[in-house]
Amino acid sequence: MILINCPYCGEREQSEFTNGGEAHVIRPKDPDALNDKDWGQYVFYRSNPKGIFYERWVHSHGCRKWFNAVRDTSTDTILKIYKLTDNKPDISEFQNTLESPSGEPAVGSGNFAVKK
């Protein structure tokens, strides 16, 4: 289990929180103007990167406030936690430890089937 540092309550176990999926997804301003394909992109498609991922969390069993986090999905390391009112941090702030899109990090992947 990972520990998450709630910006309002401090560090707690992940099981106190609920993940809200990808952050910074903006609802299209004029849905009627979209074709089915673009509307489908908004409804069903979310980024799923291995590596740096912007996501939302809510402290469901605590203050019940929402906030955003940047996490490395290849190791589960939380790189940054910021409030909904803060600006999206630029991806250049974070170091991607993967050499290829589906590669394995040197430590922390839990994957023993792949030679590193």
Binding site: S15, G21, F44, N48, S102, G108, S109, G110, A113, V114
Partner: protein
């Protein structure tokens, strides 16, 4: 054993992912479609991904016609697979039981049983008395969510997961398929919406067609070809106990309290847990997820209370919005995907491989998988199987 050759400069078809689905695809391409210049490229070892990490449950009791046809196509292939591959799959049709714990479960399951029977499947309703006869160790009354009945599919069961990968690997290798292990596909190269080949840790390999069957990593690879897939990757866990004498001779699943269990031929209890609540590529999973499952298992089967667990592991599953797979072409010519199996792909291995091979060979879907296309996420023809998927997501 299969050979481990160095890759050639090019192939007719490259299959990315050497699990059961990928190796099976190579087998059916060679056997049924006469395409033998194939490479299966695997980042780790054969069957080291989700093929070797699942709880080996096989069933076809899905709600919608499209799913029932696809999964039962698979069960029918399972029934003859040991003979066809001359390799013992240890396929055991010991039945699969889905427990109902509340009024809603009963209604949902009875509806599903009726739908199954219209599709010619052997699902049936069993009451608590019959459940007690089939599984005497189950506590049906003295628990928070009592057991009120179950949907039972006698043709369901389990098989040996490694054997599927090895059987398909042996027979496809005999027909000339190159199996390349410890070789990572780094990206898929395309030119003008047509596939050119793959860049790997052993260099560039040209291909007329590329078929991606990389479970949790499929969407990451698709991205390198500029294709977006509606998938989210999450860890799914399982665990096994110390071996004991035979106590449970069927597979028992419960969606409501999230516990499913069967007993392996070695005597270990094979227990499936849930997915973590967030996207991740770390093959371990959170401890609280197992705790929840084990709690439910102990309540349902009090005699397991003092047992020790031997091993726990996680695999990365690719979850689709409608809990149904994608077996489809895409906007890039010569690029095919078989993905989105989420938490329940093992049962479908032979059927999925069989229809995917058809899709790749003919450049058009088999009638069994034509509904499992990518277009459904824009035209809305979803195949919602959240009720039949064993793991809630």
């Amino acid at each position: 054993m299969w050979e481990s050759p160095e890759p050639k400069k090019g192939y007719d078809v490259i299959i990315v992912g050497g699990g059961g689905h990928g190796l099976g695809t190579a087998y059916y391409l060679a056997k049924e479609h006469g395409i033998k210049n194939i490479a299966v490229i695997e980042k780790g070892w054969l069957g080291g991904g989700n093929t070797g990490r699942n709880t080996t449950i096989i069933r076809s009791n899905y709600l919608w016609n499209e799913s029932a046809n696809l999964y039962d196509h698979s069960v029918k292939l399972w029934e003859n697979l040991s003979e066809e591959l001359n390799f013992n799959m240890m396929f055991s049709q010991r039945g699969v039981m889905n427990l109902a714990h509340n009024e809603h479960d009963i209604k949902e399951m009875k509806r599903r049983i009726s739908a199954n029977r219209l599709n010619g499947l052997d699902t049936q309703w069993v009451d608590t008395k019959q459940i007690k006869e089939l599984v005497p160790i189950m506590n049906t009354e003295n628990l928070r969510y009592p057991v009120l009945g179950a949907a039972f599919q006698p043709r369901g069961g389990v098989a040996r997961h490694d054997a599927v990968a090895w059987g398909y690997a042996l027979r496809s290798n005999e027909m000339g398929v190159d199996i390349i292990q410890n070789c990572e596909v780094k990206d898929i190269k395309t030119d003008n919406h047509k596939v050119e080949g793959v860049n790997t840790s052993k260099g560039f390999i040209r291909a007329n067609k590329v078929a991606v069957v990389a479970s949790g990593h499929t969407s990451v690879l698709a991205q390198t070809a500029g294709v977006r897939l509606p998938l989210q990757s999450r860890p799914l866990q399982a665990l096994v106990s110390e071996p004991i004498k035979p106590v449970i001779n069927t597979v028992v699943m419960s969606n409501a309290v999230h516990a499913y269990v069967s007993q392996s031929d070695k005597g270990e209890l094979v227990i499936g847990a849930g997915t973590d609540g967030y996207n991740s590529f770390t093959q371990r999973g959170g401890y609280d997820v197992i705790e929840e499952t084990v709690r439910a298992i102990v309540e349902l089967y009090p005699i397991f209370g003092k047992m020790k667990m031997l091993r726990q592991w996680g695999g990365i599953v690719d979850i689709c919005p409608d809990a149904s797979p994608i077996i489809s072409k895409c906007e890039v010519k010569g690029l095919y995907f078989n993905c989105g199996w989420g938490t329940g792909g093992f049962k479908a291995t032979p059927g999925s491989a069989n229809v995917f091979a058809h899709t790749v060979a003919k450049d058009e879907p088999h009638k069994i998988n034509e509904a499992f296309n990518l277009e459904r996420f824009s035209n809305g023809r979803l195949i919602d199987e959240h009720g039949a998927a064993a793991v809630a997501h």
